[in-house]
């Protein structure tokens, strides 16, 4: 028994830790692209946690309408459907822009970035149109706790999209001015992560704010 154990177990002299990286002189630090991407991933997750706080506030206050209109009286589903289509398609083009950058294809990168910008700007325009319509109808953020929470939650996402659009134009300008340098490519990676995350947050918003709101 002990003889077979000894032959199958890996040899270990007891003075060195089993984990390789601790003593391995050839273990190397992660590539800068991995470190930057991971750091930005941590930021995005904390951003998601902030959205969760706004979302929890909204969920708690959905019935606090102070005698005012409820979600099903206010939400227009066809606007939300067009907004969803815009953001989802822009996410696809953002991914294509990322592929264009990775393979050094300038034409694919710029065309896809322009498409992403147009679709993102359309989304933002529809959201501003929706907000001004609500405020003109007397259902502004000062009407009830429900509407305050609604404007805070959706408005926060809209601000993120605005920042994303500015970032998008910056990246296009940097590619024109500096080309696909390593640092520019890292920024494009982070921008892609940001834009896809905004789309993921929008999935939660259109499903659980608008669609649940209209079906209740």
């Amino acid at each position: 028994m002990s003889a077979t154990m000894a032959s199958t177990m890996p040899k270990h002299d007891g003075n060195r830790p089993l984990a390789q990286n601790i003593t391995d002189p050839h273990a190397h630090a992660a590539a800068k692209r991995v470190v930057v991407g991971y750091g930005f991933w941590i930021f995005l997750i904390s951003d998601i946690i902030m959205f969760a706080a706004f979302f929890a506030t909204y969920a708690v206050l959905t019935d606090a309408t102070a005698g005012g209109p409820r979600g099903r009286d206010l939400f227009e589903l066809h606007t939300v459907a067009i907004e969803t289509a815009c953001l989802l398609t822009s996410s696809l083009f953002c991914g294509l822009a990322g592929i264009g950058a990775q393979y050094g294809n300038r034409r694919l990168f710029h065309c896809a970035m322009v498409a992403t910008f147009v679709l993102g700007a359309t989304f933002l325009g529809l959201e501003i149109h929706e907000f001004t319509g609500l405020i003109e109808a007397g259902a502004g953020p000062d009407r009830s706790a429900f509407l305050s929470a609604f404007f805070a939650l959706i408005g926060c996402h809209g601000l993120h999209v605005t920042a994303g659009l500015l970032w998008l134009l910056t990246m296009m300008a940097q590619v024109v001015a500096k080309g696909f340098r390593d640092d520019v490519l890292r920024r494009i990676l982070c921008f892609g992560l940001f834009w896809h995350t905004l789309d993921i947050i929008w999935v939660a918003l259109f499903s659980l704010v608008y669609l649940v709101g209209i079906s209740q």
Binding site: A31, L77, L92, G95, A101, Y103, S207, L208, L211
Partner: protein
């Protein structure tokens, strides 16, 4: 094919940045991945919009059905757009996401749980005003 921005001497056991694919397998395969994700996400979105207005699903369970579809669509986005996988090169990214999800769940369900209990045990507003007189 040599990818821009990815270190050439990366060994197969290295971590991969979130959003990057370890083995992209050429431009055509990468684009196909995005198109599959886009088709699945569109399908799930259309189902959500359809279910919200139809009588296909028993009315009181519509919020549950919409939540399930939303979580499925977020999963599609994570896998096909952000390339978060269960592979060993993605452990760091998955663990950070898992921790984030834990905090999100605590925040949302904790708030709802506590606030419904508070609402339940609070006096009606007119009764509070009566007692303060």
């Amino acid at each position: 094919m040599n990818l821009h921005g990815m270190s050439a001497d990366a060994s197969p056991h290295d971590d991969v940045a979130p959003g990057d694919e370890h083995d992209a397998g050429g431009i055509r395969k990468a684009v196909t991945g995005y198109l599959i994700g886009f088709a699945l996400a569109t399908l799930l979105s259309v189902m959500s919009f359809y279910i919200a207005r139809s009588t296909l699903v028993w009315a009181p369970s519509i919020p549950i059905a919409l939540s399930v579809l939303a979580i499925a669509q977020m999963g599609v986005h994570l896998v096909f757009f952000l390339h978060i996988t269960s592979g060993p090169d993605n452990v760091n990214n998955v663990l950070a996401l898992a921790f984030g999800l834990l905090i999100v769940m605590l925040l949302v369900f904790g708030s709802l749980w506590i606030m419904t209990h508070l609402n339940h045990s609070m006096l009606p507003m007119d009764e509070i005003i009566n007692r303060q007189r």
